[in-house]
């Protein structure tokens, strides 16, 4: 049953990803990407990462993709229906990319052995009282520094967006 759900989700996700690359219209591509992101979010649930699944959907679908679509609306989208979608050398890139994908899927992944211990995560989660609790316990102790540092990244992004987004008056002086 889980296998079936996984195959459906993965199938939809990969097909939507292919459509992101192959579609002509940027808005359509953006919607296909939302489908892929949603499927990845659902796969996170299968992997016992419920908190991340929610985060994925809230931030990726709810924030980033909305932002992209807003940007698309601000920009004249007539140019996006352009026939010359690809670079001239694109066939070589595609061939190399497909070879890379095949190599990873056929040679590298099956030949790799990992120390797998799936019960450990379930036990840890049960012990902590849930995925969110478990994450929080680590996030605010061992990874406290990273957590605080991430706030600086968001701060710099805000400064950047305010600076770049401010309109210039015709004389070139900033308002």
């Amino acid at each position: 049953m889980v296998k079936l759900i996984f195959i459906i989700l993965a199938g939809i996700g990969v097909i939507a990803a292919l459509m992101v690359v192959s579609l002509k219209n940027v808005v359509h591509s953006a919607f296909c990407l939302i489908i892929t992101l949603f499927c990845v979010g659902c796969i996170f649930v299968l992997l016992h990462a419920e908190f991340l699944a929610a985060t994925q959907i809230l931030i990726y679908v709810g924030a980033i993709m909305v932002l992209v679509i807003f940007a698309l609306m601000l920009i004249d989208s007539r140019e996006t229906a352009n026939d010359r979608r690809f670079h001239h050398q694109s066939q070589w890139v595609i061939i190399v990319g497909v070879i890379l994908a095949l190599e990873i899927v056929i040679f590298i992944i099956p030949k790799s052995k990992f120390i797998v211990n799936p019960e450990k995560m379930i036990a840890q989660t049960a012990e902590a009282g849930g995925n969110t609790q478990l994450l929080a316990r680590y996030l605010f102790t061992d990874y406290l520094f990273a957590f605080e540092f991430a706030s600086l990244i968001i701060l710099v992004a805000v400064v950047a967006a305010v600076f770049l987004g401010k309109r210039l008056s015709p004389t070139g002086k900033r308002e």
Partner: protein
């Protein structure tokens, strides 16, 4: 896992230099908001003061090596060396910017804050002991640099350069993250020292996934360090960005990137040294050859410096290849090269700023025609920098290159040394071309020197150190050797 408040305070004390930088940023941003119409030159001096204070605080480190924040960061000699280097780069950039930002009408509080943000990101990169902190530092640096590149907002070139920088930076972090995820999958750890412990405990480390992860990691860091295949942003960004930002980018991220690269390959995956030395030797050959050959046909000095910078990274990678067999010698040569590169590579950018005025930027080789007549001193200073870049004997560039070639010879990489020497000979040509333009050609009308006290101080420091390191390199080589003694 148990976290104690006293431990936390002790850890914070260890990063007091970074805290000084953060406080300076806060002060600058608050003052920027409180006095929106005023002159921002004061903020430039505050940011410079903050950097110097942070460097001073950094120097009070008592020499005790430890890992802090549950292994997120490490305080060691290696990080100390790179922190001092980064403070130097930042201070030089700030000195060069003070007058330049007024000239280009970009004298804003954000500029000074963003330079410090970028520095902060690099400080965390060089002391990061876990791939997560390194990645976060790298991203902070990337975002701040990206905005700095786009700072000339009316200039389309600046915008395009920023866009290219942004896309390639995100592209490289995508590759880097995938590489990190594979390394994490194989070793089960994201801490560099724990990865090293895991791998040294393994009998057979030739794991295909780990190899792929390593390649992706190295390729991903290539963006910061600017080697092939992520060197494409360099010329466009140097050409489009404000000049002082280009000077900053030509060294800061490169130094931080090399620090991370050295920490990863020498500590985390040292057991895979056969694999990565092959990878680096290929990258070194391609990078230096491509950089030098493309630099030959550049007319714009900023693009020329970009390609020459790529070529210099190629030489440094040679040192890294040698480090696989002779860690001490190889890494010493690499970080000594970086240290002297700070002074003679920012220098030419300073000269370009010296020659630019409100209406015109002298950035073509033709603009330098007859500089020796107009201003003998600046022509002489430029010559010192160019001769150092070219690696001509009395200069420090020669000592640095010699150390790298010696390390490579000792590691019996004769073919690599041969390619390196041929490349150095090619490089001689394009550096001397500028010298010839300055001394032989007739002067052009309209060439004017626009010196300001801060820029003069910056140039004096750079010339002073270039000459000092050329005369007495042993002091600095000793410092480099000291700083890596506990890393290896």
């Amino acid at each position: 896992m148990q976290y104690n408040f006293v431990v936390l305070l002790g850890d914070i004390k260890q990063i007091s230099a970074e805290m000084v930088i953060i406080l300076t940023i806060v002060v600058i941003m608050l003052m920027d908001i409180l006095a929106p119409r005023g002159d921002k030159t004061l903020l430039a001096y505050i940011s410079l003061g903050g950097t110097l204070l942070a460097a001073l605080v950094c120097c009070t480190w008592n020499g005790v090596e430890q890992s802090i924040f549950s292994g997120a960061l490490v305080v060691d000699r290696f990080a100390f060396f790179f922190k001092l280097m980064l403070f130097t780069i930042t201070a030089l950039t700030q000195l060069m910017s003070i007058n330049y930002v007024k000239l280009r009408n970009i004298n804003r509080g954000e500029f000074h804050a963003l330079v410090l943000f970028a520095t902060l990101g690099m400080l965390i990169m060089v002391s990061g002991a876990d791939l997560l902190s390194i990645y976060l530092g790298l991203e902070l640096n990337a975002i701040a640099c990206c905005v700095l590149v786009a700072f000339l907002r009316q200039n389309v070139k600046s915008n395009e350069a920023a866009l290219k920088y942004f896309v390639l930076s995100l592209f490289s972090s995508g590759i880097l993250l995938y590489g990190i995820s594979l390394v994490y999958g194989v070793t089960g750890e994201i801490n560099i020292y724990k990865i090293a412990r895991y791998l040294s405990g393994q009998q057979n480390v030739s794991h295909p996934m780990l190899h792929l992860g390593l390649v992706l990691l190295v390729v991903g860091f290539g963006f910061k360090v600017a080697y092939v295949p992520f060197h494409m942003w360099v010329p466009d960004v140097y050409e489009g960005a404000p000049i002082s930002v280009a000077a900053f980018l030509s060294l800061g991220p490169k130094a931080a990137g090399f620090a991370v690269l050295v920490r990863i390959v020498m500590v985390a995956v040292f057991t895979l040294k056969v694999e990565w030395s092959i990878l680096f030797s290929l990258l070194a050959v391609v990078t230096m050859t491509l950089g030098n050959l493309t630099a030959l046909c550049q007319e714009n000095i900023r693009r020329l410096l970009a390609y020459s910078g790529i070529a210099h990274v190629g030489y440094m990678l040679m040192g890294l290849v040698a480090a696989a067999n002779y860690p001490q010698l190889g890494i010493t040569s690499v970080i000594f090269y970086l240290l002297c590169y700070v002074f003679f590579n920012i220098g030419p950018f300073g000269i370009i700023i010296l020659l630019c005025n409100k209406h015109k930027i002298c950035e073509f080789i033709g603009d330098f025609d007859g500089l020796s007549v107009r201003s003998p001193l600046s022509a002489f200073v430029m010559t010192i920098f160019l001769l150092s870049l070219a690696g001509i004997p009395p200069m420090v560039g020669f000592v640095a290159k010699f150390l790298i070639f010696m390390a490579a010879m000792k590691a019996e990489l004769y073919w690599l040394v041969a390619i390196g020497i041929i490349n150095s000979a090619i490089a001689m040509f394009y550096y001397l071309r500028i010298v010839v333009a300055m001394y032989v050609r007739a002067p052009k009308p309209g060439l004017k020197i626009n010196a300001s006290p801060s820029l003069t101080i910056a140039l004096a420091i750079m010339v002073g150190f270039t000459l000092l390191m050329g005369i007495y390199p042993a002091l600095f080589i000793g410092f480099a050797r000291y700083s890596i003694a506990t890393l290896l």
